[in-house]
Symmetry: C2
Subunit: 319 residues, 2 copies
């Protein structure tokens, strides 16, 4: 099996690469592609490619990968700021990939596409059912929804074998704080776990939908293995996760790392961030995905321990 990962230089792409090279999926070839060359990995080929360039996707699939993970995208903030770039990267490059696959007779690879809860828009029920209507409130969510529809249509026609995964907010993201509106969800835990102060910009009664980077990696691996004949006409699956309020996240931090860690969190309300995240989804039923064997964490203690095991830097000497 030849495996291709698009968007391999991103956080999830690197974790997926590590899982595959660690033996999670049998393969004889592994190609890693991103707009900047992904870190080189033994046994893998690393390619720098802009998927919006003409012919880029044709070249990437010339080796007929039987399994393609498509994680390449620009994030919601950038897609909102740059209309043309958002549609070019998040929709057109995906379509170019699907069309390049469709143009090869008899070639029907599994294509696992990273979609997003952003295909849904408020007002939400407490728990979003699998068949909730598509009402994106951002250009990013619109582009993901359009690509999901295209993936389902091409799969129905037998041109490819697609699965789209609507990912929860990934928490705890490793690395430095970023400027994404959702960044605080990770940093209020990550920074105190590393002995650093953190800022909470929103009310702690806010509830949202989470999975760890390890769970997300598991989603992609599971999507590579499922019997897609069971999916029916929609190839998009809302992924399982953990619904938690910020107060519950902080209580988990207290249990795992103690009051000293919690004391590093400083509450400084930011109305701009509050307005962005306030209408976000609280929970998904993810009934179809759970029945297909997709699993996520069931407590925030577990999400914190996964960060400690997988990602916490060894910078701070510990007694």
């Amino acid at each position: 099996m030849h495996i291709l990962i698009l968007g391999a230089a991103g956080m999830l792409g690197r974790k997926l690469t590590a899982a595959i090279t660690g033996g999670a999926l049998a393969h004889d070839r592994l190609t890693l592609a991103d707009v900047v060359a992904p870190p080189t990995v033994p046994g893998a080929r690393s390619v720098a490619v802009n998927l919006t360039d003409p012919g880029a996707t044709e070249a990437l699939i010339a080796g007929r990968p039987g399994l393609i993970f498509h994680l390449a995208a620009i994030v919601s903030g950038e897609a909102e700021a740059d209309l043309a770039k958002g549609y070019a990267v998040n929709l057109d490059a995906s379509r170019a990939l699907f069309d390049a696959i469709a143009a090869i007779p008899g070639y029907c690879p599994r294509v696992v596409f990273a979609s997003s809860l952003a295909v849904f828009g408020a007002p939400f029920p407490k728990v979003i059912p699998d068949d909730f209507h598509l009402t994106p409130r951002t250009s990013y969510g619109t582009q993901k929804a359009m690509t999901e529809l295209l993936l389902s249509d091409y799969s129905r026609r037998g041109l490819l074998d697609g699965v789209a995964l609507r990912l929860p907010t990934i928490c705890i993201r490793p690395g430095a704080p970023n400027r994404a509106a959702s960044g605080f969800y990770s940093s209020i835990l990550r920074e105190p776990l590393n002995g650093l102060p953190a800022t909470l910009p929103v009310r702690d009664s806010l509830r949202h939908w989470f999975a760890s980077p390890r769970a997300a990696t598991g989603f992609f691996l599971r999507a590579a293995a499922i019997e897609t004949g069971l999916l029916g006409p929609s190839r998009a699956l809302s992924m399982p996760g953990l619904s938690a309020s910020i107060a519950e996240m902080i209580e988990a931090l207290r249990r795992v790392a103690g009051q000293a860690a919690v004391d590093l969190i400083h509450y400084a309300p930011d109305p701009v961030i509050q307005a962005i995240v306030e209408p976000w989804a609280e929970a998904c039923a993810a009934t179809r995905a759970r029945a297909l064997g997709f699993t996520a964490e069931t407590s925030f203690d577990e999400i914190i321990r996964i960060y400690l095991e997988d990602d916490r830097p060894d910078l701070t000497p510990r007694s």
Copy 2:
């Protein structure tokens, strides 16, 4: 007001043109465009244009029409048979139009887009609610759903002022029988009303969702006038209609035109057509559209009378 109709040579385009030139909408300019030049109409400009040609949409909106009716499309059978053509005409040409509009600073026309119930797919509830999920089962339905999402996103961004109308099956279509799978829904009434035999290829207990050509014209006119600020984030509206079984349609024919007309219908089951139309929608709630003043017929007698008033050819001398 300058009005532009794309797809003006089609059945609905011609009826909409007649309504507008008859005074239904105030205008000082009217441009009619289609891939073949629409019939010339006094006071209107008729243009033959292929919307998939580069620059075609830019040229059409150079005169800054304040109201654009976008009915141009290829039908579902052709979109299913020709993947590339379906996406080029039904998605890319719409997007080219929206992008051409977006590129003009300060220009934000009302764009009324002809969508379809085909954005939905079985299994259906008895009555499809406005917020039913998008699960198209055809490439045509996928293209319409993707265009709806794009229209909503561009409207949200203030680049245009869009309304998408999900039309019921239009009945009674005037003219000769065509080879569309749905064609019999019109021909089993139209042909007997014209003294000609007709074939019913499916069971008469089958129920479906209908509106007359006159009602459809009314939908487009209403969509030009509504306060779009009331629409919220989704600019797509399921249109009202009449839910009727074929047996009910035939009873209405009996009431309006007598047993002799009904006797012209010959039942000849066609498993291919039966398989295509069997899963079609039985009814839509159309709650939002009704609240916004969209109206359709409430009996099939009325739909038949509208055909007699508006469309029946004067070919057969009547005593």
